[in-house]
Symmetry: C2
Subunit: 204 residues, 2 copies
């Protein structure tokens, strides 16, 4: 797993490199624990065992199972956004940017299948982070679409509904081609989806 | 709530009209109970109380909380599909059909906000019904797209990924405009989404 992203709004931000490394190990272990067992069955002792961290040390970083789950949802959300952002930065037009963002998301979902289970379970275990994840992602997509509209690359009247529609495409293609079955190539799936987003499906 | 759909594969199909009415009342009550409390906190006694049915009678129709939850997921899935099918039957071309299906789904989701919570929770409480719901919905969309391709209304190369993309648009617009906030008109949202599906977003 990548070790670059840190959780937003962590209550007890570690001050040392070693502390940050332990916190990262706990979050990575929490992703595996909650991904395998779900929030209800997952446990702090399961997380510390997987992380190779003493049970008592857990409380230096997180107050409770609820708190590490919240931190994990925000961490996953930030990492998905970061991956997409990095991919977009290597492109020069809006539609190529959206294609690169989807491809990066599909690759992330294939590496971290637990991202679906964790974000989806947040609907119940941490509704506020769930809402923030989707509202934040849609806002970033809409900001990019508006830049594209200003540049004359896409239609002028792009709206929030277009952003939510694109996010829905990305999430469901990830569910179909990375989680339920991962035999398809992310590049192929992203290209097909992007052509549909760009051109629609009407016969011309 | 509509009282027309009955659960698929019910193990103890009632033989009398009165029995079917009680079973329907239990399913409607389960939708409210699980919608409000979630699967873990929801209880059989909460369901029978809401349905005005004696606790003992529950077991004439369902074996357990797990079984009524499974029946509810299949019932919700069937009713969503039935509503979409009825709306499509009143249209004459593929793209109008998809617009009508989305509008019918948005109206259903607004009337039954619990449908999101119940289908989403099935990912954890009943993964097989969760998969069947999305795979079945995508299959029906793809069947319709293929008819449209044969008629020359939409591109010839429509594929399963297009069907999953359309399903993703529908689910996320329902989440945004019917669950998180329900101040928008389903007709307007469906028209905008359908135009994007038909024409894409590239500037022409």
């Amino acid at each position: 797993m990548a070790t670059d992203a840190i959780p937003q709004q962590a209550d007890r931000e570690p001050r040392t490199a070693r502390g940050r490394k332990t916190q990262r190990a706990l979050l990575d272990a929490a992703a595996v624990e909650f991904g395998e067992k779900g929030f209800h069955e997952g446990s702090i002792s399961g997380i510390t065992r997987r992380a190779g961290v003493a049970l008592g040390s857990f409380y230096t970083y997180f107050e409770s199972k609820d708190e590490i789950f919240r931190a994990l949802v925000r961490d996953m959300s930030a990492r998905v956004g970061q991956r997409a952002g990095e991919a977009i930065a290597r492109t020069t037009d809006t539609l190529s940017g959206e294609r690169a963002a989807l491809k990066a998301f599909l690759e992330f979902a294939r590496e971290h299948k637990e991202v679906y289970r964790i974000i989806d379970e947040a609907e119940f275990a941490d509704p506020e982070s769930y809402r923030q994840h989707y509202q934040g992602t849609a806002r970033r997509i809409l900001d990019r679409l508006k830049v594209g509209a200003e540049r004359g690359e896409i239609r002028e009247d792009v709206s929030e509904a277009h952003a939510w529609a694109i996010m829905g495409i990305n999430v469901f293609l990830g569910l179909r081609y990375c989680v339920l079955d991962d035999s398809s190539d992310p590049e192929t799936v992203a290209t097909l989806a992007n052509e549909m987003i760009a051109e629609g499906i009407r016969r011309r």
